[in-house]
């Protein structure tokens, strides 16, 4: 990193300075907090918001006095936006961000592949939205500052972690001295160099990949549309790869691969970067004046902890896993971590589920990480071939792709997709009579409901029971079952998908039957959806006993799991 991290400056963004506020612990008060989140980055604050949504009081610690500097993670996937809308922040992301649906890959100057990501009227959000991480952090933190249950403690550095049977004690260093902070649970969202992870002596395991990229933000006026552009063996970076993304505020992200022999410090010198970027901008055909905004260097890793849970300490985001940027999975998988652990912690803290529910976090989210590793490793080997053999085949695929579909598939950047918690201990066996719809473990997809908006905006705060009804009526026993299925004291929301009958807050009209079709449903079909909108059970014909059983299982209650 070359632009100053301690005092970030920017051509377009004013970094705030958050004051240190003296906490009561420094004056001798002893409090055990419900949850302490370490790290006020996007994953940590998302976790705090999700916890607060379920009524949990949270302290968020961060050693900085401002946001992370630089644009960093800029691509937010649709499935993340669908999760963030439950936190009441997605609209602000949409208003500020740049949506995109396609991309173009070039080989030696010629277009060879057109990426088209599925998008339809059924979806409220675009497949991808470009937004700099400063804005992501700003919007999340400003939203969190409106939550009475969330307390930020800036300029507070974790220097020690003492796990205990009933609580965790953190040693916190501040400008006014050190103190002990106690919490029932700690969420470590403190990034790739996690102080919590280091304090516990835990190591990430995995692999480092070939190829280093300099990541540069440039301020430049251009009317080129928002898309992902990938240039292989191009005039702007002969023999190597360049990626270009548009960001809001006339900022352009240019990632260029370094030669294996390039010296890192020389490569990061401002003059070197200026020359390199000038060549790439000339290749793009841009003629407007431009300025360097921010830069960094990147190397691809597939590293993760062996277990994301260590007693009362749970790891999420980069503190738990490092994934390659190709496919934009880093922050997006961090958001999913936060949404996965939030409701589980709330249920445990409210006594609605035992501590065993937290044991599901690592298998589900580490499973997602390993799936990412498989996909991202292939993407990384394509973007930065590690050997001559890979390079020969990659270039052959690029050369054949204009005329051959089979080769084009290799160019697909395998963009971030939501993970299906197949085989999760919280899920029931799928009903084999379904021939369509999201399988058990998959996230519920969105659907357009005419004047009633979109399906996902109607989900409940806790569990949601989707009941498909021809006439809009639902069995009385279903209402009773929903009342008993609570998350942080909030009963399950019954949402009736009706072919006909009255529309109201609980009933979505599916006049043309597309929601029925999308879910493979018939009159009487039912889905049980978790607070993080993953399906944990479904039945072509619902049964009261099966629904109750599924809820008990989804809460990891001892009598059933």
């Amino acid at each position: 990193m070359t632009r100053p991290a301690a005092n970030p400056r920017s051509l377009y963004f004013d970094y705030p300075c958050f004051d240190f506020v003296r906490p009561p612990e420094l004056d001798g008060e002893v409090v055990t907090h419900e949850v302490v989140v370490v790290g006020a980055g996007p994953v940590g604050v998302t976790a705090a918001l999700e916890l607060a949504r379920h009524g949990v009081r949270v302290v968020v610690l961060d050693d900085k006095a401002s946001f992370n500097d630089g644009s960093r993670a800029i691509c937010i996937a649709r499935h993340s936006l669908e999760g963030l809308q439950q936190l009441d922040v997605a609209e602000r992301f949409m208003a500020a961000g740049l949506p995109w649906t396609h991309g173009t890959s070039y080989f030696r100057g010629q277009p060879v592949f057109r990426l088209e990501m599925p998008h339809s009227v059924e979806q409220r959000f675009p497949p991808m939205l470009n937004l700099q991480q400063q804005f992501i952090e700003q919007f999340l933190i400003e939203r969190a500052q409106r939550e009475a249950l969330i307390e930020f403690r800036w300029q507070s550095r974790v220097e020690g972690v003492t796990p205990g049977a009933q609580q965790v004690t953190l040693d916190v260093a501040t400008p006014e001295g050190a103190y002990h902070l106690k919490a029932a649970y700690v969420l470590a969202a403190d990034g790739a160099r996690s102080a919590v992870r280091q304090a516990l002596g835990l190591k990430l395991h995995g692999a480092a990949h070939e190829g280093r990229y300099v990541i540069v933000d440039v301020k430049m006026a251009s009317d080129h549309p928002t898309e992902r552009r990938a240039f292989f063996d191009c005039a702007g970076n002969p023999g190597a790869t360049v990626l270009v993304h548009r960001q809001p505020q006339d900022i352009w992200r240019i990632d260029y691969q370094l030669d294996e022999h390039d010296d890192e410090s020389e490569a990061l010198a401002e003059g070197t970067i200026h020359s390199k970027v000038a060549a790439i901008i000339a290749m793009l055909g841009e003629t407007a004046p431009w300025e360097l905004e921010w830069w960094s260097i990147y190397k691809a890793y597939t590293l993760c902890l062996d277990d994301y849970r260590h007693g009362r300490v749970l790891f999420c985001g980069d503190a738990a896993h490092l994934v390659p940027i190709f496919g934009v999975r880093g922050l997006n998988s961090g958001f999913a971590d936060a949404l996965n652990i939030g409701w589980k912690l709330a249920c445990v803290l409210r006594g609605e589920a035992s501590d065993a529910l937290l044991d599901s976090y690592s298998p589900e989210r580490r499973g997602a990480t390993l799936d990412i590793f498989a996909q991202a490793s292939k993407s990384t080997r394509f973007m930065s071939p590690p050997t001559r053999g890979y390079r020969l085949l990659r270039d052959a695929a690029l050369a054949l792709s204009p005329a051959h579909e089979f080769a084009r598939r290799l160019l697909d950047p395998r963009q971030s997709q939501p993970y299906t918690y197949a085989g999760s201990a919280l899920s029931c066996d799928d009903d084999p009579s379904f021939t369509a719809g999201p399988v058990v473990g998959a996230p519920l997809p969105d659907g357009h409901c005419g004047e009633q908006g979109y399906l996902l905006e109607h989900l409940g705060r806790g569990f949601t029971v989707l009941y498909f009804s021809a006439d809009g009526r639902a069995p009385e026993a279903l209402h009773a079952a929903c009342a008993a299925m609570t998350v942080a004291d909030v009963p399950a929301r019954l949402l009736v998908i009706a072919m006909r009958g009255a529309m109201d807050a609980q009933t979505l009209r599916d006049v043309d039957g597309h929601l029925f079709a999308a879910h493979g449903a018939v009159d009487g079909s039912c889905y049980l959806v978790r607070p993080d909108r993953h399906v944990c059970a479904r039945w072509r014909q619902w049964r009261a006993d099966a629904l109750s059983h599924a809820y008990v299982r989804a809460m990891a209650r001892a009598e059933d799991v």
Binding site: G389, Y390, L393, A399, L400, A403, E405, F406, L410
Partner: protein, 63 residues
Amino acid sequence: MFEQRLPAADFELAYERLAAALDSVGPGRESEFLARLALLLMQAAPEISAVLAAIDAAEAALD
């Protein structure tokens, strides 16, 4: 345009295996290796038209 015969996962597996084989034989013997591989795959091809089309496509992609 070639009809997709191998499932995507199998194709990716073969891609990885071939990359490793190319690295194994080394730069000096890549052409020799690829020529032998081509002959073997020709023999596995279902019909002559597929082989001739592949030769034409590979030539065209060199332009």
